[in-house]
């Protein structure tokens, strides 16, 4: 009798510990997803037009799943300590629903992260940057985002300034090639925002223009966040799986 008492207490202790970890991870997931959704690097307009919005959808789901995990972990702790079949049954069913949602979020984040290739951003940039149609609001946002990006990261284009030379673009329709082989933002600018040496920039003299592409500056933060949502969610789900199995085993042993 004493031995099975000990086993019961150990199992209860493990389940409480498991639920505490789930609760804390839920809060962490919510915090991470809120940070991602708050658009810290100003890249949301670029992702919105690539129809690769899955990462944001996954992050939004992650916020609510994290809060649900926290609430359910408290319910689980109470149910385990009180050995209440009803509470634990409610806990198991709600946890399964949350599990399903988080599964969807992880898979969406992982799938969309793969689709963020340089070609995707290149095509979008060429078609939308400085697209002169004034009614098109999304293109204006894309232009502003690219200008900010090129200014802050001292980069040009997606793979380099030659993007503007190799392909025709909306930019090329309004800016002559002889005056603007690439946008002015690609030039090294002084404190007033004017090119330090305009002729040097047009010719491509090293030191007067930014020769590296912006793809790393875009994909770095987005990939980090997408990995965070996808793989952290996956880890939480693996842990939750173990805790749920233990809870079901515990539940099946409780007699009325």
């Amino acid at each position: 009798m004493a031995k099975s008492d000990d086993c019961v207490h150990i199992l209860q202790g493990l389940l409480v510990f498991g639920n505490v970890v789930i609760g804390m991870c839920g809060i962490a997931l919510t915090a991470e997803c809120i940070y991602f959704v708050s658009n810290p690097h100003g890249l949301y307009p670029l992702l919105k037009v690539t129809e690769s919005n899955g990462i944001y959808t996954a992050a939004w789901i992650g916020i609510f799943v994290g809060l649900a995990l926290f609430a359910l972990s408290i319910l689980g702790i109470i149910g385990v300590i009180k050995a209440s079949r009803t509470l634990l049954l409610v806990y198991i069913i709600l946890m399964l629903i949350t599990f399903a949602f988080e599964m969807a979020s992880c898979i969406t984040a992982a799938a969309h992260q793969d689709s963020l290739t340089p070609s995707l951003f290149l095509k979008q940039m060429l078609e939308r940057y400085q697209n002169s149609d004034p009614a098109n609001n999304t293109d204006n946002e894309v232009t502003k985002t690219w200008d900010e990006l090129m200014l802050q990261n001292h980069c040009c284009g997606v793979l380099g300034p030659s993007d503007w030379q190799e392909y025709t673009s909306a930019f090329r329709r309004t800016h002559k090639d002889a005056d603007y082989p690439w946008p002015r933002k690609c030039c090294v600018l002084d404190a007033q925002g004017l090119p330090v040496n305009l002729d040097g920039c047009k010719l491509g003299v090293p030191g007067y223009y930014n020769s590296n592409g912006c793809y790393d500056a875009i994909s770095g933060p987005v990939n980090t966040h997408a990995w965070g949502v996808a793989w952290f969610g996956f880890a939480i789900l693996c842990w939750t799986f173990c805790v749920l199995l233990g809870t079901m085993f515990y539940w099946s042993g409780i007699e009325y």
Binding site: S4, D5, V8, T50, A83, I92, L96, F99, A100, M103, C106, I107, A110, A111, Q113, D114, S115, T117, S119, L120, L122, K123, L126, E127, P161, S162, Q165, E166, Y167, T168, S169, R172, K176, D177, A178, D179, P181, D199, K202, L203, G204, V205, P206, Y209, S211, A230, W231, F234, L237, C238, F241, L244, L245, M248, Y250, W251, S252, G253, I254, E255
Partner: protein, 245 residues
């Protein structure tokens, strides 16, 4: 008859240094011909650049005077023009000239239709050949050789870019398969546990051999039997000592 211009062995060429804008869709750059015309040029002479389509360079005739110089705007019909009129002193060895000349840099002159030598952007990718011509008051005095054909960049439409990912990630497959199997195991476990409970309650079986919560045990208390009184037929006053009557 004026003397034919001296043929200098210099060949105009693109600058050797790495410049990303050496050749664009409508412009190209040439290395400045420093020291080339020393010994042939006077202070009043000018050096022109003759630009012609590669297949029209053989038929190019040097202009007899400044008034005969083919202008930029006749490039489509005449298949050649001359531009970049510069004082010969600017190309002497000691002159502080920039190392590169950019052909096609002036977008303003094309629209205004000025008569000055217009360094306008080139209208088509070419290929073009160029040569430098030293013009004096009485006509051309010296010329360089024709350059190699220079082909300008041709831009393609962004519609040709395929944005699909080159490799469909293994990450997705791993995550999806593991999560799907975990989900399936959980669902099976829940259904199995619920099913077992329902089955057990329907069949009224006693399942609780190892119950986790302690139930109160009520033991059936069996009191020990009390000693019965002896039957009255024996009549012994001290027990165990009987006298038969």
């Amino acid at each position: 008859l004026p003397t034919p211009p001296a043929r200098l062995p210099y060949v105009p060429h693109l600058p050797p240094m790495a410049l990303l804008g050496k050749v664009t869709a409508t412009t190209f750059a040439l290395e400045t011909p420093l020291c080339v015309f020393d010994g042939h040029a006077d202070a009043s002479d000018a050096v022109w650049l003759a630009v012609a389509f590669a297949n029209a360079s053989a038929t190019f005739r040097n202009p007899r005077s400044r008034a005969d110089v083919p202008p930029y705007r006749r490039l489509p019909t005449a298949r050649s023009y001359m531009t970049l009129e510069t004082a010969a002193a600017a190309y002497s060895c000691s002159a502080p000239s920039p190392p590169v000349l950019r052909v096609g840099a002036d977008t303003a002159c094309r629209d205004q239709g000025r008569q000055d030598p217009c360094n306008g952007p080139l209208p088509s990718p070419g290929p073009y050949r160029v040569k430098f011509l030293l013009m004096g008051c009485r006509g051309p005095k010296a010329e360089t050789r024709w350059s190699e054909p220079i082909l300008l960049r041709r831009a393609v439409s962004p519609g040709s870019i395929d944005p699909a990912p080159t490799r469909h990630g293994s990450d997705v497959v791993v995550i999806a398969s593991i999560l799907a199997s975990l989900g399936a195991v959980l669902a099976t476990a829940v259904l199995g546990a619920l099913g077992a409970k329902v089955w057990g309650s329907l069949c009224h079986q006693d399942l609780g051999t190892d119950a986790f919560t302690r139930r109160s045990y009520r033991t059936h208390h069996i009191p020990p039997a009390l000693p019965q009184p002896l039957p009255p037929g024996c009549g012994c006053s001290p027990p165990g000592l009987c006298r038969s009557a």
